[in-house]
């Protein structure tokens, strides 16, 4: 299971960086999305994958007796997902606005911010 995760995270990071290096703005955004998902899965993986042992103490005892899944990575991922959701929705709107303003999806066309006068 761990190996599968490692491969999956590798693919997500690789694909994300590849897409970010393209000229298209939409691909840039999709690349960022994939990278973000890769990072979330990485947190999940590094918190150790333990199957079928939720971090809930059974009613008849007051401490953990068996091995249990670490709840912290899950809460971290939840926070990270919410944050990246906000950022991504902002980025999508921004892309649309930029497309409307410039009429282009190509990052190389964004030259208004450059000095053409050096």
């Amino acid at each position: 299971m761990e190996l599968l995760f490692v491969v999956l995270i590798g693919i997500l990071y690789g694909a994300g960086i590849y897409l970010m290096l393209r000229r298209s703005m939409v691909k840039l955004l999709v690349g960022l999305l994939l990278l973000g998902n890769g990072a979330n899965l990485l947190i999940f993986l590094l918190g150790d994958l333990i199957k079928g042992h939720p971090p809930v103490i059974s009613p008849d005892s007051s401490v953990f007796t068996a091995i249990y899944a670490d709840p912290i990575p899950q809460s971290l991922i939840l926070t990270a997902i919410v944050i990246s959701f906000g950022l991504q929705s902002f980025a999508i709107i921004l892309l649309k606005k930029v497309y409307l303003a410039t009429g282009s999806d190509n990052l190389d066309d964004l030259l208004n911010t450059h000095d053409l006068d050096i």
Partner: protein, 510 residues
């Protein structure tokens, strides 16, 4: 010592932002409330600073969960000084914004977002938890995205794409580093990490994690190979917003670098050498970039990059003297860079352009204003009694002591080029007679003279206020140096920090 008092600056910013959201589109009320709340936060910041200076490190455990389990907020002298300088800048920018930001932007929530941004900044300075720091960084960047795009001009949108993409990438790298750090240690509390990281035997993995953090913060703070987004985005938003960005957003990255590389990852020789070389490259490339720019604000953007190099240099030398110098530079830079962009805003209002060849004869038209601006520029350059000069003594001294002559050469070149570009700008903008207009061009009506006297005062007062602060930093340098040395000593010996967060037993166990 425990106290809930320390999160007051960020709570006040949040409360103000919420109140302002209820006053949507009522801009007069928004302006007044924003300025008043910034005054209150400045007072709180001063009190917090006095408190930490007198009693040492104050901690607060959120929800009363003992550290390392809950989220800890820590106010040591470093944090509280950053909060204080941030509050000074915030007050200045908010007064300036009352006139300097146009009504359309205010109607679309400039002031609430402004306060959310400062809430994030204060949170980042006060937190003692790595993941919490990530959350504050996200609050800062999403607020900055909105400020960057507010108004929706075409160049603003284009620069926002670069800014948003780079900052999101930085966040992902930061998050990756947190994931690996958590996997290595099973902890997120900075003080706890400081102990646990020291015990890990696989130093290679620790260094890789440290460098991932460096890349994440490096993109935000614009160090050498990662700064290219900054000069192509900081000149597009209005000056008040650019002032916040230039003065504070890069500095929060520097703050995080200082925190991480003095508390958690104690740099080994490889990392300090890498930092020195990065500092050299940052200083030189930033300086060279500023020479060729004709647009004033683009030139200032490159100067931001250039001067970030001085702070990284302190981290690269990694001695108490060097760190004190770098910290002094950090405090000076927050005030001066904020002021620089405010000044450029006033010039833009007077002349309607930022292109230096088209500007001129400002000194003849506004002699008093020019004098104030001259002091700002001289502080930036570091003409001896003024604020930019003193930290360099420390950095040079530490550089000579370490025998790092390459770094010293780079710092001298960077200081010299700063002097050169400021002198060039001074002759172009202030001394030169204004060139005649092209017949096709529209005559620009001076937007400063037509203002009411009170509005003029609102624009000039923040500049004077920040100028006074930087004069104090210059003439009262020994006081700032005492603070910087105190912080540097706390950075070299982190045991008081760890004791304050985890209790006295924590250090004895290992």
């Amino acid at each position: 010592m425990t106290s809930n008092f320390i999160i007051l600056p960020l709570l006040l910013h949040m409360a103000t932002a919420i109140v302002l959201m209820f006053l949507w589109k009522r801009i007069t009320a928004q302006r007044i409330i924003s300025v008043i709340s910034n005054v209150i936060i400045l007072i709180v910041g001063i009190l917090l600073f006095i408190q930490t200076w007198k009693t040492g490190i104050i901690t607060m455990q959120a929800g009363n969960w003992p550290a390392p389990f809950g989220i800890t907020f820590v106010a040591d002298v470093f944090s509280s000084t950053m909060v204080l300088f941030t509050a000074i800048s915030a007050l200045a920018v908010s007064i300036y914004s009352t006139v300097g930001i146009n009504r359309a932007r205010m109607k679309y929530g400039y002031f609430p977002i402004f306060h959310f941004l400062f809430m994030g900044l204060n949170g980042a300075f006060l937190t003692g938890d790595v993941f919490n720091l990530y959350v504050w960084f996200e609050i800062v960047i999403i607020s900055s995205f909105v400020l960057m795009t507010l108004g929706g001009k075409k160049p603003q949108m284009e620069s926002a794409i670069k800014y948003v993409a780079m900052n999101m990438l930085a966040s992902v790298i930061f998050l990756t580093a947190i994931a690996i750090l958590y996997g290595l240690t099973g902890s997120l509390n900075m003080a706890d990490l400081s102990i646990k990281i020291a015990q890990i035997e696989n130093r290679g993995l620790v260094n890789v994690t440290g460098l991932l953090f460096f890349i994440g913060f490096g993109i935000k703070s614009a160090v050498f190979p990662l700064y290219y987004w900054l000069p192509s985005s900081y000149h597009t938003p209005p000056s008040a917003i650019a002032a916040i960005f230039g003065g504070l957003l890069t500095k929060v990255g520097i703050y995080a670098l200082f925190r991480f590389f003095t508390l958690i990852f104690i740099p080994n020789e490889f990392i300090t050498t890498a930092f020195s070389l990065i500092a050299v490259a940052t200083l030189i490339t930033g300086a060279l970039g500023s020479i060729i720019k004709r647009d004033m604000r683009r030139m200032f953007s490159y100067l931001i990059v250039c001067h970030i190099g001085f702070m990284i240099a302190g981290l690269g030398l990694f001695t108490e003297v060097a760190l004190a110098g770098a910290l002094f530079y950090l405090f000076h830079d927050i005030i001066v860079k904020t002021n620089l962009f405010l000044v450029s805003g006033i010039i833009y209002r007077i002349k309607g352009t930022m292109d230096m060849p088209k500007l001129g004869s400002l000194y003849a038209e506004y002699p008093k204003l020019s004098l104030i601006m001259a002091i700002v520029f001289f502080s930036l350059v570091g003409i001896p009694p003024l604020s930019g000069f003193w930290p360099k003594i420390n950095l040079f001294q530490a550089g000579f002591f370490a025998g790092d002559y390459l770094l010293i050469a780079a710092m001298i070149i960077a200081s010299f080029v700063t002097l050169y570009v400021i002198a060039k700008m001074w002759t172009e903008v202030f001394w030169k007679t204004e060139p005649p207009l092209n017949p096709e061009e529209k005559v620009y009506i001076d937007g400063f003279t037509i203002l009411k006297p009170f509005s003029k005062l609102l624009l000039v007062f923040p500049v004077i206020m920040l100028m006074m602060v930087s004069l104090y930093i210059g003439f009262g340098a020994e006081n700032i140096m005492v603070i910087s040395k105190h912080i540097a000593a706390q950075m070299m010996d982190t045991s008081p920090y760890i004791k304050a967060v985890l209790g006295n037993e924590a250090l004895n166990i290992q």
